[in-house]
């Protein structure tokens, strides 16, 4: 036995375990890829199908309902993946909610709920503005897990936050374009959702996938 190398090895184990025990990734790479892909498909379909002739009272079915479905499906799938991850290595199978997973969900929930409540403003705002608010609040929601998240989640959070802020600032210009009849507001909202929730998650998954086993 070599005491020095043994001591060094044990210190490495301690450091790595301490880091692992304090870091939690609330969005798994496969979850992000699946969610991002579904969002991209729904967005592209929405852009092509959304017509300016759709009555205002039906817009909820052409925008809110499909995106609520995407949120539920992608969210449940991501939670299922995270729950499975928590059972790895043991004899148990099935879903396991770890304390860190509970903490992460507790941190993200207010931001997500705030986004949900924004849909109530639908009668006063364009769907594109609500989509921009969702992007911004999703960024806030991700950043709220920042104190125990890996850098990649924080970068994703800031990306969503910045995109949401830019979209809201540009909102006046976008609204003006719509008024002139040059753009389809529903298609624009689908485009915003696809570019952010679709593309950003796919890029995140591609960047994180190679090292997901280490975090």
């Amino acid at each position: 036995m070599q005491p020095q190398s043994d001591a060094g090895e044990n210190l490495r184990i301690i450091r790595s375990l301490m880091e692992k025990a304090t870091i939690y990734r609330a969005i798994s790479a496969p979850g992000a890829l699946a969610g991002g892909s579904i969002a991209a498909i729904v967005s592209i379909t929405g852009v092509f199908l959304a017509s300016p002739s759709i009555p205002a009272e039906d817009e909820i079915w052409w925008f809110f309902v499909p995106w609520l479905a995407v949120f539920v499906v992608a969210g449940v799938f991501n939670l299922w993946l995270l729950g499975q991850d928590g059972t790895q290595g043991g004899s148990d199978t099935g879903f396991h909610v770890s304390e860190r997973m509970r903490t992460a969900l507790g941190c993200m929930l207010p931001g997500l709920l705030a986004g949900g409540f924004c849909a109530i403003l639908q009668s006063a705002l364009e769907w594109s503005t609500i989509a921009s608010l969702w992007v911004l609040l999703y960024g806030v929601s991700l950043l709220s897990t920042g104190f125990f998240s890996p850098t990649s989640i924080r970068v994703l959070g800031w990306t969503f936050f910045a995109a949401g802020a830019v979209l809201l600032i540009a909102g006046a210009i976008i609204a003006e374009t719509i008024q002139t009849g040059d753009a389809n507001p529903l298609a624009l909202a689908h485009g915003i959702m696809g570019t952010t929730f679709g593309l950003f998650h796919i890029v995140y998954a591609i960047c994180v996938w190679p090292r997901r086993a280490n975090v």
Partner: protein, 100 residues
Amino acid sequence: MFDFDKIDKTIHEKGRLGIMTLLAVRTSWTFQDLKSELKMSDGNLITHLRTLHDAGMVAITREILDRPQTSYSLTAKGRAAFQEYLAVLEQIITAGKPKV
């Protein structure tokens, strides 16, 4: 010359070192969380936890919430022993460094 008998053999075993490290990071861990973090089998983990409990380093709390749940935490003795163990590791590494 460093006295290697100073190393706490209860903590020095890798499985138990992992348990002690996690317990030092957070106040309390459930059995399930420890198991998934350390990728240990039930039997292995129970054996190591029992050894640490018998040595007075780990406290066990049994609660019945929606189902029975066992949580583990470091005792004051366990925390002191872990800090001492870290100090000993540091001394070993320092002692092995060539003097400039």
